[in-house]
């Protein structure tokens, strides 16, 4: 199996405070990976570091054997909170922007996803509800044809009807050889999607293991296992 993402000895500090410490991680092609950790554990920071939005202070991140930021940006699609767009922007204008700046943005794929999620292109950002906004973020992120997708809490604050649609669109539009890293606080809900989980605890990667092995070894659901890890109730071999 080829390694799509490889992180070695990554440390990130901000204002003299260590946010992430000595992260080592290696992830293969064609997987869906859950990134779990409590509020403030550093999940978002890690994703932003991988995508090259935050600058790496110490350590190396390799995506598809490339370490240059430009090459990494070509291969990574990070779900964007769309904060950079004015509240007046029309959905169609945002789609145009994506099409212009990302050569791998597939209009057809976007149209398909948008149709499935009932997105209205003529609306302005300010008039979208939280649910619709979440759908738009997903549609834009998935419409790029890249090897690595980073979805940062794509379902936070979204009603359960929209959540189900978002989950099914992730399954449907993920290409076989691409990898998705997804973070969410409702682990049970996304558990069925996941191949592996990465747990962040105490500023570093506590462990990475497959969902199967959790079930086999501990006879636990992903969420229970994750909680146990945080409560320290698990004998770590």
């Amino acid at each position: 199996m080829t390694e799509l993402l490889k992180i070695t000895n990554l440390t990130y500090k901000k204002n003299y405070k260590t946010i992430l410490d000595n992260i080592n991680l290696s992830i293969g092609n064609g997987k869906i990976i859950g990134l779990l950790g409590e509020n403030g554990a550093g999940k978002t920071t890690l994703m932003r570091l991988i995508a090259g939005v935050n600058s790496i202070k110490e350590g190396v991140i390799t995506v598809d054997d490339k370490t240059k930021k430009i090459d990494i940006k070509k291969n990574v699609s990070l779900s964007d909170e769309l904060g950079g767009f004015g509240r007046n922007t029309k959905v169609s204008e945002m789609v145009d922007f994506y099409q212009n700046v990302y050569p791998d943005f597939s209009m057809e794929k976007y149209q398909e996803i948008a149709q499935y999620l009932d997105l209205d292109e003529s609306k302005r950002l300010s008039s979208l509800s939280t649910g619709t906004l979440g759908k738009l973020v997903i549609a834009l992120a998935l419409a790029r044809n890249t090897k690595l997708y980073l979805l940062d809490e794509p379902m936070s604050g979204i009603d359960s009807m929209s959540r189900k649609k978002i989950i099914s669109s992730i399954i449907r539009w993920k290409s076989d050889d691409s990898t998705i890293i997804i973070s969410d606080h409702y682990v049970t809900e996304i558990a069925s999607l996941l191949d592996d989980i990465v747990i962040i605890k105490d500023k570093t990667v506590y462990e990475m293991r497959s969902v199967e092995s959790i079930q086999e070894k501990y006879h636990l659901g992903v969420e229970e296992y994750y909680e146990k890890v945080y409560e320290g109730g698990l004998p770590n071999e």
Partner: protein
């Protein structure tokens, strides 16, 4: 009544702090300037009037922001107190903050002049000391009333803009809000000017001469009109606040 006292305590403390910070910065600025002049042996006299003006304007702008914020904020709108109570508490604390600011600035101004005398400001002080105490007091009152009118007027404009913005079928857009604010300010200013000018004429100020008595009469008229406008706009504010306005933050 006890609830009004509760919110008064918070607002008075907050605004007292705001003004104290401005005064502190002003003192610091004067000290630094004097040190600079001592160290580099600059002998040109420097007037302190500009600094006082800047401090007062900064204070007024910050107070306007803070007064408007109270009406926008759920934090204050949720306090169990009537809208009228909130309004008066807000305006009253701003009023005392202004008094504090003016008194503080006066002390700084005269104090700095006593320690670092300079010819410009000594001339200003001499000019003002014309032994017309009654006139001077009125002048200060007019000044304070003018600042109050700025505060009350800003609230009127804020409330009107959000009311009209809600009634129009436009989405809250920054650009539209800016345009709307300009239109409302203009719409408020037109009747304001017309009514004020006409009242002045009605009250008998046709010719403005430079004689002292006509200046005194002019000042009396202005005082009257300032009070009248403050009262009228306060009633408008209370109506808007009770019936229409919503917390936006």
């Amino acid at each position: 009544m006890s609830n009004i006292n509760r919110i008064n305590k918070d607002l008075f403390r907050q605004r007292g702090k705001l003004v104290s910070i401005i005064l502190g910065f002003h003192i610091l600025a004067i000290v630094l300037m004097m040190l600079y002049k001592k160290v580099f042996k600059v002998t040109d006299p420097t007037s302190l009037t500009g600094g006082v003006l800047i401090a007062i304007i900064t204070g007024i702008v910050l107070l306007v922001i803070s007064v408007i914020y109270v009406f926008d904020s759920s934090k204050y709108r949720l306090i169990p107190i009537s809208s009228n109570g909130l309004y008066f508490s807000n305006i009253l604390s701003a009023f005392f903050a202004i008094i504090y600011l003016l008194v503080g600035e006066a002390i700084i101004y005269f104090g700095a002049n006593a320690i670092f005398p300079n010819p410009y400001d000594q001339m200003m002080i001499r000019d003002f000391n014309v032994n017309q105490y009654w006139f001077q007091i009125k002048l200060v009152i007019a000044f304070i009333l003018g600042i109050m009118l700025i505060l009350v007027g800003s609230v009127v404009i804020r409330l009107l803009v959000s009311l009209i913005g809600d009634l129009l079928p436009i989405k809250k857009q920054t650009f539209a809000t800016v345009i709307l604010t300009l239109i409302v300010i203009w719409a408020v200013m037109v009747p304001f000017n017309v009514i004020t000018a006409n009242t002045l004429i009605l009250l008998g100020v046709q010719e403005v001469t430079t004689s002292f008595s006509s200046i005194v009469r002019m000042l009396n008229m202005s005082l009257f009109i300032l009070v009248a406008w403050n009262v009228v706009l306060t009633f408008l504010n209370l109506y808007l606040l009770n019936r229409w306005s919503e917390a936006t933050r």
